[in-house]
Symmetry: C2
Subunit: 304 residues, 2 copies
DNA sequence: GGGTATGCATATGTCCAATATATGAATCTT
DNA sequence: AAGATTCATATATTGGACATATGCATACCC
């Protein structure tokens, strides 16, 4: 059986007339008769009663007509759906993001715009550390992720750099250094630092260490926290100072004072990663959208 | 698009390997590749990513695979259903019956057996007078009916005689004639009769009148009731005597005494009617079953 | 009631499209 | 680098869908 049989059958069932149905289908009456006969042979039962004037559906024909229509409609639907999935207008997208990402306006803005532009794509968002996100993408548990620079093995992943963001010194409120508007890193040489654990270590950790060493010292790390929000909280608690992406100053500012860094301070890079050779159109759409928004950012807010 | 494309697609999607899928399908690899390409062209999107070793489904392919499987399953189901409908194992059957029919053991027995033998046929039952049933069958509101002889126009209907049943005299309890075991019709010449209205008149009415006239009198009809159960009730109420099918004696016997008729009394014929040229297999199955049960009735009960 | 019209079935020929065979191209393996 | 694997392409073949012509049954009409 082929869909042709169903299409022909439905046409005849609608016209109850072979000749007219054949005209409507754009073919001759004899081949139509033959195809219907072949269908009836395969089903093992007549679908029509041949009357002197036209035909009538048999009981089996009536039953089969419902199903045939439904099947043909399913084919249409399936075709349309596949096209929309291919265009990225339908489907799902599992986005990962580093914990600091939500605080930079760029990321939520891109996510929001994606949701508006592709309302039938089911978005899910997962926050985690950069190495964990890279692993999740590789393990097919996420499709794409906003991450900080990834150290070590990045094989199997494509990286799309988005922007570099300045970092600020985070001081406990009332800290002596807070009286300066900008600080050189060297001024922090004798401070206790709150930083990421080495293991969670995105490239951001190394970036900070390197910047400090450029300034002539190695930071003394006395507290660790995996998430940048926790780092800010520890600083607010007076347990040390830290260097955080500039976008962090928009949140949780009570108890913490942010100061710009003089000279070539560390910069926080934000990138997108996704599987190498990924063909998911939703991933492609998010990458395209992010690239577009980086190219001509529409907000007045400084980007890094 | 044809079902062939879906079948081929599912096979490749299951094997993720054109050559193996082609073997499984019993054809060469090149035609399979071509058909898949044709499908992809029609959908406007690739369904597979061609890898060095085998292929992988694209996002659109995964989506389409679900639908393709479901469509193919629907085709199977539709085929099977049409076959079962054609065999009369699935469908519906609207049975009409004259009001006295349920009291003759034959009718409920046949209905019950039909329900057991064809459990997936939805049975509906409608009680009415013979002319109303004939009209209902012709108007496609019922498919078949157990009726008494039909007077007048029976064109468009096929009649299948089932059996003739003796009729009894129904007397109010304590009626003087009740002391005889059998009665000649003539003995009722001066009684008041409870009968069907002439209009409802199945042939049974004429049969009764004719029998009385054979015995030399015209019954005086003083009460009318359309349904035989009502007739019995009126007799029980002492409003007259009547002649009813023998099977009526099994119900509502309080207040009514039944007596056999001597000589050639009237007989109540039970028939099946259905549309001429009817092709419904459920109708055919019920006719066949009824004919079979008439041929060799398995109950000890007298049939008429 | 015979002639005509209608409408599906059958017969035969034609052509396209699905398939088979052969080969090519790309990638991975050893 | 040579071979193996696997999908794509090229060309030939064949089966089946379709077209044309005709047959047959029934209904309609004068």
């Amino acid at each position: 059986m082929e869909l042709r049989h169903l299409r022909y059958f439905v046409a005849v069932a609608e016209e109850l007339h072979f000749t007219r149905a054949a005209q409507k289908l754009g073919l001759g009456q004899p081949p139509l008769s033959q195809q219907i006969q072949a269908l009836e042979r395969e089903l093992g039962t007549p679908l029509f009663r041949r009357l002197p004037r036209g035909v009538a559906l048999t009981e089996a024909g009536r039953c089969f007509l419902d199903d045939a229509r439904s099947i043909l409609a399913s084919v249409e639907r399936a075709t349309e759906q596949a096209r929309r999935v291919a265009a990225g207008n339908l489907g799902r997208l599992r986005v990962g993001m580093i914990n600091s990402a939500p605080f930079h306006p760029f990321v939520p803005r891109v996510i929001r715009e994606f949701g508006q532009r592709y309302p039938e794509v089911a978005l899910s968002i997962d926050e985690n550390s950069t190495p964990a996100l890279a692993a999740a993408v590789l393990a097919q548990q996420a499709d794409i992720a906003f991450v900080r620079p990834l150290l070590g093995d990045s094989s199997g992943l494509t990286t799309e750099h988005l922007f570099d963001e300045d970092m600020l010194v985070a001081l406990p409120q009332g800290h002596p250094l807070a009286r300066f508007r900008t600080l050189s890193l060297w001024a922090l040489a004798s401070e206790n630092f709150v930083l990421f654990p080495r293991l969670v270590g995105s490239g951001l950790y190394d970036e900070i260490i390197a910047a400090c060493q450029r300034s002539g010292f190695s930071p003394r790390v006395t507290q660790e926290a995996s998430q940048v929000t926790s780092i800010v909280n520890l600083v607010a608690a007076g347990l040390g100072v830290s260097l955080v992406p500039a976008s962090m100053q928009q949140v949780n500012s009570e108890g913490v004072t942010y100061r710009a860094i003089a000279g070539d301070g560390p910069r926080a890079r934000m990138s997108l990663i996704y599987r190498e050779g990924e063909d998911s159109p939703t991933v492609a759409n998010l990458v395209a959208l992010a690239r577009e928004r980086v190219g001509r950012p529409r907000a007045r807010k400084p980007k890094g």
